[in-house]
C-alpha cells in the first residue's frame, strides 16, 4: 500500500479501477453476467478484500473521518476470519457470556495468532479490561 489515496480517488470503481482486484485476482471488468452464467464468477469473487478496506480507510481518513478509517482497518483484519469464529467472538463479547477475563484474552490471542488481526485483538483486550472493571463477567440468567 502506498498510503496516498485521497478523496479524488473515490469512488474506486470509477476513478481507480486499476487498483481493484477480487480475492481471486480478477478485475472489476471481469465480473460480468456472462462470467457469472459460465460459472467463472462465484460469490467468493464478489467479496470485499482486505486491500479494498485499507484503501477505503485511506479515503475515509483523507475525508476527515479517522474513526471510520480505524473501523475499516479493523475490518480488513476480519475479512479472512471465518463466519463461525466471528459469530463466536461476538457472542463472547455480549454481557455475561465470558466467564472471566481469560476467555476474552484467549479470543484476542486467536485473532492475533491465527488471523494476524492485531488491531482487532487489542480491541478485544480492551473490552476484557472494561468488562472486568464493570463486573460484566458475572453470570446472567
Amino acid at each position: 500500500m502506498t498510503g496516498k489515496l485521497t478523496i479524488m480517488d473515490y469512488p474506486l470503481a470509477e476513478k481507480r479501477p486499476d487498483l481493484v482486484r477480487t480475492r481471486g485476482g480478477k478485475k472489476l471488468e471481469d465480473l460480468t453476467l456472462a462470467a457469472v452464467e459460465a460459472g467463472e464468477v462465484a460469490l467468493e469473487d464478489l467479496r470485499i478484500t482486505p486491500d479494498a478496506l485499507r484503501q477505503q480507510a485511506e479515503i475515509a481518513r483523507a475525508a476527515g473521518r479517522p474513526t471510520l478509517a480505524r473501523n475499516f482497518e479493523r475490518a480488513a483484519e476480519l475479512v479472512d476470519v471465518p463466519q463461525d469464529v466471528i459469530l463466536r467472538i461476538y457472542e463472547l463479547l455480549r454481557p455475561g457470556r465470558a466467564k472471566g477475563k481469560a476467555d476474552l484474552l484467549e479470543a484476542a490471542q486467536l485473532l492475533r495468532g491465527t488471523y494476524k488481526a492485531e488491531g482487532m485483538a487489542r480491541f478485544v483486550e480492551e473490552a476484557a479490561a472494561v468488562y472486568e472493571r464493570r463486573g460484566l463477567f458475572s453470570k446472567r440468567f
Binding site: I7, Y10, P11, L12, A13, E14, V20, T22, L28, L31, L33, V36, E37, V41, A42, L43, L46, R47, I48, T49, A52, L53, Q55, Q56, I59, A60, A63, G64, R65, P66, T67, L68, A69, R70, N71, F72, R74, A75, E77, L78, V79, V81, Q83, I86, L87, I89, Y90, L93, R94, P95, M120, F123, V124, E126, A127, V130, Y131, R133, R134, L136
Partner: protein, 764 residues
C-alpha cells in the same frame, strides 16, 4: 368564579359541546404525559443531566462531564477512548455553548469547521449546544450540517402474510417511486430467507441501485448478508445507559465488533439509537432524552460506523407524548449530522393518529433535506407494515409527493404513472415466480400472481400464506442458495436485465465504495459524503432542484390544464346545443315593466362554457331562475352583458336595465347575485358565491326572491348550506381557467344585448 351579577337568569349547561367534538377527533387517541424528569419524561434537560466539562491530564481524560475517569461506566469509557479527539477538545470545550449554537445557524461558518469541533466535545456539551436552538434553527442547522448534498429516502417493504410475490411487486414499486433503500422484516422469523430473496429480486426490477436490508436476528441477518441478498444493515442498536445496554444483551464493544464484522463482509451498516429507548427499557437514570442520545451518538462515532438511524425510531411515540418531544427528535438528528454521521432521520414509527401532527412532523425534514428522510417510509399499507405503521405510509404516499411539489423540496421520491407501475409489478411477480421455479422452490399459479399485481394490500391477495412461505424460506437456507444462484436463475429464464441489476448491487461490495459515509446509488453511480458533500454556505449553495428533477417532482397525476378544461366544455357543448338556443336580439333598452326582473348572463355563458361548477347545465339553471321569477309573478328578461364578467357588475348592470330595478347577474360557472339599481357594486341583495354546491332548487328560489324584491317585499335570503368543504382547493384551478375564458370575451364598452332563449322540452 366571579361574583354572581344581580338578576341574571341562571344558565344550566354543563359542557360546551365543542369539547365533545374534539373528543371525537383522532388526536384524542394520542396520550400525552406530564414532564417528569425523575421518571425520565424530560426532552431537553433534566436536573440529573451532568454539566459539560472535560479535564485532560498528560494526554488522558481525567474527568468528563463531571465524572472522574475512575467512575466511568462502559459508555463513558468508550466515548473517552474512541470518540473524543483530545487535540481539538480543549479548544472546543472552551467555546461557550451559545456561541457554538450561533455558529450552527451561521451560514458563513462552514460545516467542516463545526464537524471538527464536535469531535472534541463531550455528550453533555453537544446536548447543551443544540438545546439553545429553537425548532426552526434546528431545521436550518440540520440542512446545513447533513453530510451528503443530495437528499434521499428509505422505505419499508413488508406484508402481513410474508408473501414473496407481494414483496417482489412492492419492492419493484418502491424502487420506481425512488426509494434509495428498502427494508423488510417478517411476521414469522423463519421466513427471513424468503423475504430476502423476494425483495432482492423485486428491487432489481426497473433500475438498479436500491440498497436492501432484511431486518432479523443479528446472526441470521449477517448470514443473509453473506449470502449476498442484502446490501446494508441498520439493526445494530446502541443505548445511552449502561443498564439499558446490558439489558439489550450487548455492550459498546460487542456492537462495535459486529459493526466491524459487517464492514469485513462489504456490507453497508449504520447503528440505531434514539430518544425513548432507555425510557421504554426502564433504565433512564432520570436523564433527559437528548443527553442520553448524545451519548449514543458519540459512541457510534467512536465505533467508526458511517451513520445512524435516529430520531426516536421505536421510541418516537413515547417521545412525542412529552413536552418538546418533537423538537427533541429534530435536535438529536442534528447531533448525528453534526458529528458527521449519515442520518436516516427517523420519521418512522407512527407517533400519532393526527394527520396534522404527521404533516407537521415531516415538514422540517422535507424542506431541510436528509440523507434518508424516513427510516423508513411505509411504502406499503399500514396493516401490511411488519415493523408497525410508519409516520407516512402507502396510504399517504401521494400526500408526500404533493408536499414535495408544494414546497419544491426533494424528499427523494418521484411520481410514477399507473401504467408504468402495473408493468413493473407484473414483471416483478413473473421474475420471482421464475426464480422459484428455476430453483425448485415453488410454482405460483397465474391467479396468485394476478391477485398480487392488482392488490393494494395483502388482504386482497390470493397468494402464499406464512406457513407456505416458511417451507420456501427453510429450503433457501438449508440448500445454501445464494445470490449467484438467483442471478443465474433470472438470466436462464430471460430476465437478463434484472440479473444484471442484481449483479451490479452485489458487485458494490468488491470495492466497498458504498461503505463510506452516506453512500447511496443514483443513476448507477455511488454518491456519498465523500464525492457529493454538503457544502451549504447560504442562498445559491447547497442542494437545489435541477430543472429536470423539478419537472419530475411537479408531474403528479390528475393535473388540470386549460386545454383539458376546454375539452371538457366542448363535450358539454354538444348536449347543450340540443337543449337550448340563444338568439341575440340587438341592443338592450331599459325596461318599463315594474315587474320585470333582468337576468344578466356573462360573456361566455352558453357560448364557450356550458355547465356550472356544480355540474348543472346552464339551460337548466336559466330554466330554474325563470320559473322562480314567474312563480312570484315577475317577468323575466335575459340580457347578455359583454363589457364585464364580474358577478357584481353583471348584477348591477342587469338591475339598471330592469323595469323593476332588480337584476340577477350570473356567471357561466354558476356564481350569481341579486342586485338593485341604486346600490353600491359590492353591496348586493343576495349572493351565491359557492357555485359548486349550489343546486337547481337554490337557483329557482333565487329567482323567486328576485321577483319578491321587485314587488317590494323582503324575502328570507336563500342560504346555500356549506359543510365546510375546502371548495377553493377543489375548484379554484378550474375557476381561474374558466374565468379567463370569460374575461377573454369581454369587450370595453360593448353594449348589453337582449337574448331570446328557446328551451327544449327536456329541460322544462
Amino acid at each position: 368564579m366571579p361574583d354572581k351579577p344581580q338578576g341574571a337568569p341562571q344558565i344550566k349547561v354543563n359542557r360546551w359541546r365543542r369539547f365533545a367534538d374534539w373528543d371525537e377527533r383522532p388526536l384524542r387517541l394520542d396520550k400525552f404525559a406530564v414532564e417528569d424528569a425523575a421518571a425520565g419524561f424530560a426532552a431537553f434537560s433534566s436536573p440529573n443531566d451532568p454539566k459539560p466539562g472535560l479535564e485532560i491530564e498528560s494526554g488522558k481524560v481525567k474527568s468528563m462531564d463531571g465524572i472522574a475517569a475512575a467512575d466511568f461506566d462502559m459508555i463513558d469509557l468508550f466515548i473517552a477512548t474512541h470518540h473524543l479527539d483530545l487535540e481539538v477538545a480543549p479548544e472546543a470545550m472552551a467555546i461557550p455553548s451559545h456561541e457554538i449554537a450561533r455558529m450552527l445557524v451561521d451560514m458563513n461558518v462552514p460545516r467542516a469547521k463545526l464537524v471538527r469541533l464536535a469531535h472534541g466535545m463531550t455528550p453533555a456539551k453537544l446536548a447543551e449546544v443544540v438545546a439553545e436552538l429553537n425548532a426552526l434553527e434546528i431545521a436550518f442547522a440540520y440542512s446545513k450540517m447533513r453530510a451528503r448534498h443530495t437528499p434521499g429516502n428509505q422505505g419499508h417493504v413488508t406484508n402481513a402474510k410474508d408473501d414473496p410475490l407481494q414483496l417482489a411487486a412492492d419492492a419493484a414499486t418502491a424502487v420506481a417511486f425512488g426509494f434509495d433503500e428498502i427494508e423488510t422484516t417478517m411476521r414469522v422469523a423463519r421466513n427471513a430467507w424468503s423475504n430476502a430473496v423476494a425483495c432482492a429480486v423485486g428491487a432489481a426490477i426497473g433500475r438498479w441501485g436500491t440498497l436492501f436490508q432484511c431486518s432479523s436476528e443479528e446472526a441470521e441477518e449477517l448470514q443473509i448478508g453473506m449470502a449476498g441478498f442484502t446490501s446494508y444493515a441498520e439493526t445494530v442498536s446502541v443505548y445511552g445507559t449502561e443498564r439499558a445496554f446490558i439489558d439489550g444483551d450487548d455492550t459498546p464493544w460487542s456492537k462495535a465488533f459486529l459493526s466491524t464484522a459487517y464492514a469485513s463482509r462489504g456490507i453497508k451498516m449504520r447503528c440505531t439509537s434514539g430518544a425513548g429507548s432507555e425510557l421504554l427499557m426502564g433504565f433512564h437514570e432520570s436523564k433527559s432524552l437528548l443527553y442520553l442520545e448524545a451519548r449514543c451518538l458519540c459512541l457510534q462515532r467512536g465505533m467508526g460506523v458511517q451513520g445512524t438511524q435516529n430520531g426516536g425510531i421505536d421510541g418516537a411515540p413515547v417521545t412525542c407524548t412529552i413536552p418538546g418531544g418533537v423538537r427533541e427528535l429534530m435536535a438529536e438528528n442534528l447531533l448525528a449530522v453534526w458529528l458527521d454521521l449519515e442520518c436516516a432521520s427517523g420519521n418512522d414509527a407512527r407517533p400519532t393518529e393526527s394527520e396534522i401532527r404527521v404533516g407537521a412532523k415531516i415538514l422540517p425534514y422535507l424542506i431541510a433535506g436528509s440523507d434518508l428522510i424516513c427510516s423508513g417510509f411505509g411504502s406499503i399499507l399500514k396493516y401490511d407494515n411488519s415493523f408497525n405503521p410508519s409516520l407516512m405510509n402507502g396510504e399517504e404516499l401521494e400526500d408526500f409527493l404533493v408536499l414535495q411539489r408544494d414546497f419544491e423540496a426533494d424528499g427523494g421520491l418521484t411520481p410514477v404513472g399507473e401504467t408504468e407501475i402495473l408493468d413493473l409489478r407484473s414483471r416483478a411477480v413473473q421474475a420471482i415466480a421464475a426464480v422459484f421455479e428455476e430453483l425448485g422452490l415453488s410454482q405460483p399459479t397465474a391467479d396468485m400472481m394476478a391477485s398480487v399485481v392488482a392488490a393494494s394490500g395483502s388482504e386482497e391477495t390470493r397468494s402464499y400464506a406464512p406457513r407456505d412461505v416458511s417451507f420456501i424460506s427453510e429450503a433457501i437456507k438449508q440448500r445454501g442458495i445464494n445470490v449467484i444462484d438467483v442471478i443465474r436463475a433470472l438470466a436462464r429464464r430471460g430476465y437478463r436485465t434484472e440479473a444484471q441489476n442484481l449483479l451490479n448491487v452485489v458487485k458494490l461490495r468488491v470495492t466497498g465504495d458504498y461503505l463510506q459515509t452516506s453512500a447511496i446509488v443514483r443513476n448507477g453511480r455511488i454518491i456519498s459524503a465523500v464525492n457529493d458533500p454538503n457544502e451549504y454556505l447560504g442562498p445559491g449553495t447547497g442542494y437545489r432542484l435541477s430543472g429536470e428533477r423539478r419537472d419530475r417532482l411537479m408531474n403528479i397525476r390528475d393535473v388540470l390544464d386549460r386545454d383539458e378544461v376546454l375539452r371538457n366544455e366542448a363535450r358539454h357543448a354538444k348536449t347543450e346545443t340540443r337543449l337550448i338556443q340563444y338568439r341575440t336580439m340587438g341592443a338592450a333598452e331599459p325596461g318599463k315593466d315594474p315587474k320585470e326582473v333582468l337576468i344578466g348572463i356573462s360573456p361566455a355563458f352558453g357560448l364557450k362554457i356550458f355547465r356550472t361548477l356544480g355540474g348543472h347545465p346552464l339551460s337548466a339553471v336559466l330554466d330554474a331562475l325563470i320559473s322562480g321569477i314567474r312563480a312570484k309573478g315577475g317577468t323575466p328578461r335575459i340580457v347578455r352583458l359583454r363589457h364585464t364578467a364580474d358577478t357584481s357588475f353583471l348584477g348591477l348592470s342587469a338591475a339598471r336595465l330592469a323595469g323593476s330595478g332588480i337584476g340577477i347577474g350570473i356567471q357561466a360557472k354558476g356564481t350569481a347575485v341579486i342586485h338593485q339599481r341604486d346600490r353600491l357594486p359590492h353591496h348586493n341583495l343576495e349572493l351565491f358565491s359557492n357555485a359548486p354546491i349550489t343546486t337547481l332548487e337554490h337557483y329557482r328560489r333565487f329567482g323567486e326572491n328576485a321577483a319578491a324584491y321587485a314587488m317590494g317585499e323582503t324575502p328570507e335570503p336563500v342560504v346555500v348550506p356549506t359543510k365546510g368543504q375546502a371548495l377553493g382547493a377543489r375548484f379554484h384551478a378550474q375557476v381561474a381557467l374558466i374565468y379567463a375564458i370569460e374575461t377573454g370575451l369581454t369587450e370595453d364598452g360593448a353594449a348589453p344585448e337582449d337574448v331570446e332563449i328557446r328551451l327544449a322540452e327536456a329541460v322544462q
